[in-house]
Amino acid sequence: MEKKLNLTLKIWRQKGPQAQGRLVTYPVQGVSTDASFLEMLDVLNEELLKKGEEPVAFDHDCREGICGMCSLMINGQTHGPDRETTTCQLHMRRFKDGDTIVIEPWRAKSFPILKDLVVDRTAFDRVIAAGGYASVNVGNAQDANCILVGKESADRAMDAAACIGCGACVASCKNASAMLFVAAKVTHFAELPQGQPERYKRAQAMVAQMDAEGFGGCTNTYECEAACPAGIQVTTIAKLNREYLKSSFAYAEESKSSEGEG
């Protein structure tokens, strides 16, 4: 049954990338327990607008847990208290009347704050871009089942493909490491026949880009797995380690002359 909550929000406000930020306290009244967390922020922003104040900037898009745009560190936890739930899928019934909720942006050197709760996650895009293309045949579409994929491989690839690239792994990791993200992407392709031609090159390039972006290293503390809204498991990180090891020894880099932009 719907109830109304009175809450105290402490929200990170920061005017721009270089500006000094701070937590600002906002009391909100009569929040419906049926509202999602982002709807609660919408209500707050309406009120701020009415008062002529600057609304709180936060990222969101699909609001159904599939796009990975929403973020938010809620009371010190990525995407709030629930497991395998994005912020947009978190509902206010998870909170009690009178609660204080601290809302912060993701924090990592590689995810600079743009404004308030919005961070720049294009480092992930650059890691993906570094992974390059996957060779596919042109021409008529193939028969749907002409490439056989083992059930277990397909399962692992699909589990890894569930990653929505939200960055909760980086945000929750004490080292701001992006290993779970990169592991999911590398595993996703390495498990499928379509990913084989560029398999080793991809692992090398994505790890190199991950390092270049300034993410921390993995110390196997597994906070990322607990934080991941898509349920990506740290077994993918072991897989990435394997892929990296194998590719380091097995993959013959192209010579400089034949190196072209793909």
Binding site: E104, A108, G216, C218, T221, E223, A226, A238, N241, Y244
Partner: protein
Amino acid sequence: MGWLRLLGKEYLLNWLIKALGSSIGRKFVMGLTGLLLIGFVIVHLAGNLLLYVGIEDYNNYAHALHSKPGLVLVAEIGLLALFLAHILIAVGITRENRAARPEGYQMRRSKQNRTAATPSALMFVSGAILLGFILLHLADFRFHLRNPGPDGEEPFAKALRLLQDPVSAGVYFVGSLFLGWHLVHGFQSVFQTLGWNHPKYTPLIKKAGVALAVVLALGFASFPVWAMLKKYGVQL
């Protein structure tokens, strides 16, 4: 690392240097050196346990070990290399990891009930404490910088005398417990880093790691306790 790069160009080992210089490559070296060091402490503990078997047995073992100075030198250099690699990489990785989040959170709460004392959260601290313990231990037993003994002192007598120093005994006791804390995370972590995470073996590896950590910690911690009890005349 300039000379390393030079070496790489010369011998066309660029790929190896690139691999070992990457975040994952350094973790491989970290894990492998850690595993080898675990092997060393297991042998070390086994040797020490001869203290409990008998004076003669311990003395004979120690003399046998030191009767081959060449071998001892090679082993010492090898151990030093392992320690240095392990420690230098740890310092480098820790600095980078701290730098990866220049501004921390106002509020932080784990989703897996981790605390600041969880072994994996404490690796650098427990490692630093271990290093202090090892340095004191080397100063005592290897370089005789503290409490030098009489010439021709038998190994058993030397061990007992050094372990009865209150400072050493205290540091050794605490250091041994931190060794266990370090290995609770360290042992199983090596396998993940080397890419070996498997539903059939990983639960076993985790349990074996904890068991190993407990045995090593209690084993090493028992020596200062034993020496102190002997010092104050408790019959054993």
